[in-house]
Every structure is written in C-alpha cells, then in structure tokens.
Symmetry: C2
Subunit: 170 residues, 2 copies
C-alpha cells in the first residue's frame, strides 16, 4: 500500500466538510436558542476587513471542488456564490459533498505530476499535482474551514475542537 | 513518482510553520507600532473559553513534532509549554523547524501502515500512519495554525491570507 492522491484528497475534504456542516448546525441551534436572526451569523466576521462566514464556506467549497476537478483533469463547474442563509450554506456544503462523491480513485490517482494552471491575481502559475494539493489546495481549504469554525466560536456557538475533527477513522 | 509520506508531511509542516513565524513577526511589529505590550497578543483569544495564542502555537508545534516522530517510529521528545513572549513563541517555532529538519525521507516513507497509538482523553486509540496523518495530525495542525493567525488578525495585525500561504512552491 502507498499513499494515493485520491486518499490524500477526496476523503480529507469530505470529512472536513461533513464536520463543517455539523458545526453550522450548532450555529443554527445557537441562533434559535438565543432568538436572533441566523442570517447574522452568515455575515459574521473576525475583523471588519475579513471575509464573512458565507465567503469562508464558499471558498472552502471552491478549493475542495477545484482540487478534485483539477487533479482529475476536468473543467471546474461554475457555482454561483449566492448563499444568504445558513440553510443555503448547508446546501452548498451538501452539493460539494455530492460533487466530491462522484470522483473515483482511478480519476485522481497518478495525478502527482499532472500540470495544473492556477489563474491567480498575480497571473497564471503552473504547478504539479502533488505540490498543488499539499501546498496550495490544503492550506487554502483548511484555512477557510477553520476560519468558518472560528467565526461561529467567536460568536458564542457552543462548539469545540471535537466538532471540527469529528470521529476518528477506524 | 508517487506521493510519499515524507513529502505529504514534513514539508507541509515546515512551510506552514515558516509562514506562522512570519505572521507572528507582523504581530510584534503591530504591537510596537501601536505601543502596546506584545505579551497581550500571547494571551489573546477569540472567545473567553478558547485557548490563547500561546497554546495555539504550542499545540500546532506538538502536532507537527508528534507526526514526524510517530510516523518515524521514534519517541516524542517532551517540550515544556512555558512560552510567555512572542520571542519565546518564535523560538518554539524555530526549534520545531529544527526538529522537523532532522528527519529524512527514508525515516518516514513507507509509514502508511505503521500502527500509531494515540493517548486521547477518551482512552488509547490505534490508527494506521496514513489515516493518522490525513485525518488526525493534519486537521489538528491546520486548525491551530489557522486559529493562531485568526487571533492576530482579529486583534488588528495587518496580515492577509498571502502571509498565511507564503510563496507557491516552484
């Protein structure tokens, strides 16, 4: 057995997004218990010039989708960023999980050397699949799922790191 | 070429910790510019019952060290959690980078199936090396480096995601 690009990517995104959904459910429960509009959480931020919860989740979703598509050599299907409620964000996570679930190991395994071109703000950059996954998709993805958690935690939602991590794989 | 356990672990931790050090330097510069005691940042939190910056960095360091040692089948050297200043935290990151730099691919490659026993609060759990890295060490490590960044960002330090990501690998 060796580490495969599929195992190193799809199940990692799936697990983290599943936990993000659970964390978000706790956010909805908190808003209900405290009787405030849950949409306040959708727009909540850690700093006035930092992106709100909705964008954190949209971008995390985009990095997971983007990694799956790029590693498989497929075009990235465009997704509108129009979520306005916690339910919308749950649907975004669910559709991302549905999308990730369509990929098979044979589509992604062997993509270590695949050339991936990223349209960054500073211009196009081409990376191989392995450094793309490990040093671009992962840091970006984990950054945004963690900041989404941190925004909810900062706003009083009763979540702990175990909610973020989920059950250990058996 | 295939994805190796070494490539999937040590350089990922090294890159993220190097950027965490850069982010922390911006924290020190911010404290100096605003003329407040930098130790305030060491104790800063996103929520009253969430761990402060110092613990976030200590735990991130521990997960990186722990992953390297466990995947290589070595004991984890104990490290005191006694950092009280930003300089202390920089030294903690530097010593972690020094420790990670001692590992060679031959020590870690092939550890996909190595049995790793974790002394969790809920009891001992044994995992194989691959799920341990992907589904335990990574989520924990990225969680704590991101929360460390978020604490500084929330406290007005002039950092952006590019500081977190660092330069792309070439």
């Amino acid at each position: 057995m060796t580490l495969s690009m599929y195992e190193a990517s799809i199940p990692v995104f799936q697990r983290a997004l599943t936990q993000l959904s659970a964390v978000l459910r706790k956010g909805a429960a908190h808003a209900e218990a405290k009787k405030f509009d849950p949409a306040v959480l959708v727009g909540a931020r850690l700093a006035p010039d930092m992106l709100p919860l909705s964008r954190q989740i949209q971008i995390a979703s985009d990095h997971a989708r983007g990694a799956a598509a790029r590693l498989a050599g497929l075009p990235r299907p465009p997704v509108p960023d129009d979520e306005a409620t916690l339910d919308d964000l749950q649907a975004r996570i669910a559709s991302t999980l549905e999308y990730l679930g369509r990929f098979t190991p044979s589509q992604i395994d062997g993509s270590e050397e695949r050339e991936i071109t990223l349209p960054l703000r500073t211009g196009e950059v081409t990376l191989k699949g392995q450094p793309y996954l490990l040093h671009f998709a992962f840091p970006n993805f984990w950054f945004h799922v963690t900041v989404a958690y941190a925004i909810l935690r900062h706003n009083g939602v009763d979540v702990g790191k175990q909610d973020f991590l989920g059950p250990l794989p058996t």
